[in-house]
């Protein structure tokens, strides 16, 4: 089991969600986050005061998938989230020890 953590543009959330759905990944968790990377921030103006904002709004999409689905998931997210511009985001992968379904107590990949 691999946890796929994708940081994407909020404007691409809908496409990423649908792309994952299309390859059979239905369980996702989405969080609204602030982050900074290579993309430069923007300037906000409040009553003649300039604020340089470098934490930008992003979405974090998390899902845990069986090992054999990881490449499909990466392809789906990359295709759906890419604009070709700086600021498209990143995907991080990490191994997951186990999974438990709270309702039944069932464990392992079958839970996903």
């Amino acid at each position: 089991m691999i946890k796929v953590e994708a940081l994407i543009r909020p404007s691409r959330l809908e496409r990423v969600k649908n792309a994952l759905d299309d390859i059979g990944i239905h369980g996702i968790t989405v969080t609204s986050v602030l982050g900074a990377g290579k993309q430069r921030g923007h300037t906000q103006y409040y009553r003649a005061k300039e604020l340089a904002v470098n934490l930008l709004e992003k979405c974090k999409v998390e899902t845990v998938v069986p090992d054999e689905l990881v490449d499909d998931a990466i392809n789906a997210i990359t295709k759906a989230a890419s604009t070709g511009e700086i600021g498209d985001g990143k995907i991080f992968l990490s191994r997951v020890e186990d999974a438990i379904r709270i309702r039944t107590g069932e464990r392992g990949e079958g839970v996903l």
């Binding site: 103006y45 409040y46 009553r47 003649a48 904002v53």
Partner: protein, 453 residues
């Protein structure tokens, strides 16, 4: 039944005792006025009163949107709660201090303490000439009461996000009593020295805006900058609240200015038109100024410009033609924009720019009244003391300057003394931990936005 009667009687004798102790004459005001209550005038003034009332909760939203999320409730409450404090004070002694029979041009006597002696008729002569000869005096009481509420509420923007509630409470009570009531008497009370001098202030450029603006500057300097002034951005957490508040303020301002005619007549209609013209021109000119200066037209700029225009047109609203109001608003926008920029240069932390908008806008409005006031708009303007641009005479402008300087310095000095006194009684500002946690939690034990279902 007997007990109840006894209680009533002891209540009355307690009242008499207080009255005697305070050295008040026992003759109620003689109803010397033969004037009759006019239904239309009374309806308009009461409706205007309700409009002006709405401005204070509206101000709460206007301010609340501009602070950080952790301070939203405390900021709104600092405006809203004055509807309570000042609403009570006004009935107890505020009205009589401001509008009661004159003592030396400086303050009203306690003759009308607790609104004693007022009946349902228009104010007796000679008061009726200023307090309305066709409306019940109580309509004047409650209309003016709304001004006594919003004026201290305006100051709260200067110390937002750091003043402790207890200190705020004592400060507001003392300020309403020692600053607002006397200044209202000077300008609007029968026999008040600035009114007698011939200085003009139709709806509160000096009494409301310069007075609160100067107090705000003093508060910002005495209470000091918010924690993290040099390190953090204090950006507004929800400008949609601020814009909703702007709408309520603009709407209420029609009552503020047009209601100040104290009658449903041509003067009220002119004040209404002039008010809208000032707000509109202020909004447009602020946005243009920042667009040229920074490259972006902002929503907060539109809101701020409208308020700047409204402030500036307020003292002039009963004395100038609509076209003059457009000029007043067009200048108010950039003038207030510049003074808000100056705040950063001078490094004082008037959190929500009360001095920059109400102080500076009020000063410009009072001066503009000395430039554009015309007898043709309002016969109260003496023909030999019209605006500089109407007759070329600077007599009125000179009187306006006297009014500006005296109200500005009186408010600055007395506010400073009050803050010093309050500071001795209780700490003025929250400690660092409280400021970090936010005033909502530390002062009120509540949060504006709950995240859990």
């Amino acid at each position: 039944m007997n007990i109840r009667r006894l209680r009533l009687r002891s209540g009355a004798s307690l009242y008499l005792l207080v009255a005697v102790l305070l050295g008040i004459g026992c003759t109620p005001a003689v109803a010397g006025s033969a004037a009759k209550v006019d239904a239309g005038d009374t309806a308009w003034v009461l409706a205007s009163t309700a409009l002006v009332f709405l401005m204070t909760p509206g101000l709460g939203l206007f301010y609340g949107g501009m602070v950080r999320r952790k301070n939203v409730l405390a900021t709104i409450t600092q405006s809203l709660f004055i509807c309570g404090i000042a609403g009570v004070l006004w009935i107890l002694y505020g009205y009589t201090l401001a509008f009661g029979p004159d003592l030396g041009g400086l303050i009203g006597s306690l003759d009308w303490i607790g609104l004693r002696g007022l009946d349902m008729k228009p104010a007796p002569d000679p008061f009726s000439s200023l307090y309305g000869s066709t409306i019940p005096q109580e309509a004047h009481v409650i209309f003016q009461g709304m001004f006594a509420i919003i004026t201290p509420a305006l100051i709260t923007g200067a110390f937002a996000e750091r003043m402790r509630f207890k200190a705020y409470l004592i400060f507001i009570i003392l300020w309403a009593t020692l600053v607002y009531d006397p200044v209202a008497h000077w300008v609007w009370g029968h026999g008040g020295w600035l009114g007698e001098l011939g200085a003009l202030d139709f709806a509160g450029g000096t009494v409301v805006h310069i007075c609160s603006g100067a107090a705000a500057l003093c508060c910002a300097l005495v209470i000091g900058r918010r924690k993290g002034y040099d390190r953090e951005h204090f950006s507004p957490h929800n400008l949609t609240l601020t814009l909703a508040g702007t709408g309520l303020l603009w709407f209420g301002w029609f009552g503020f200015n047009a209601g100040s005619a104290l009658a449903a007549n041509g003067l009220a209609a002119n004040a209404f038109v002039v008010t809208n013209a000032g707000a509109a021109a202020g909004m447009v000119s602020w946005v243009l100024a920042e667009w040229v200066h920074r490259g972006k037209p902002t929503a907060l700029g539109a809101a701020s410009g409208a308020i700047a225009g409204l402030v500036a047109v307020t003292p002039a609203s009963g004395f100038v033609a609509p076209i003059a109001a457009v000029v007043i608003g067009l200048i108010a926008g950039p003038a207030c924009y510049l003074s808000v920029m100056a705040k950063t240069r001078f490094r004082y932390d008037d959190s929500l720019d009360v001095f920059g908008i109400h102080g500076v806008g009020g000063i410009w409005g009072a001066l503009a009244t000395g430039l554009f006031a015309a007898s043709s708009v309002n016969p109260v303007v003496a023909t030999d003391a019209q605006g500089l641009f109407i007759t070329g005479s600077a007599v009125l402008l000179g009187r306006q300057l006297i009014a500006i300087v005296s109200v500005l310095f009186y408010s600055l000095i007395v506010t400073y003394l009050i803050l010093t006194l309050v500071g001795v009684l209780t700490p003025l500002r929250a400690c660092e931990d409280e400021e970090d946690a936010g005033m909502d939690i530390s002062q009120h034990g509540e949060v504006g936005y709950a995240f859990h279902p």
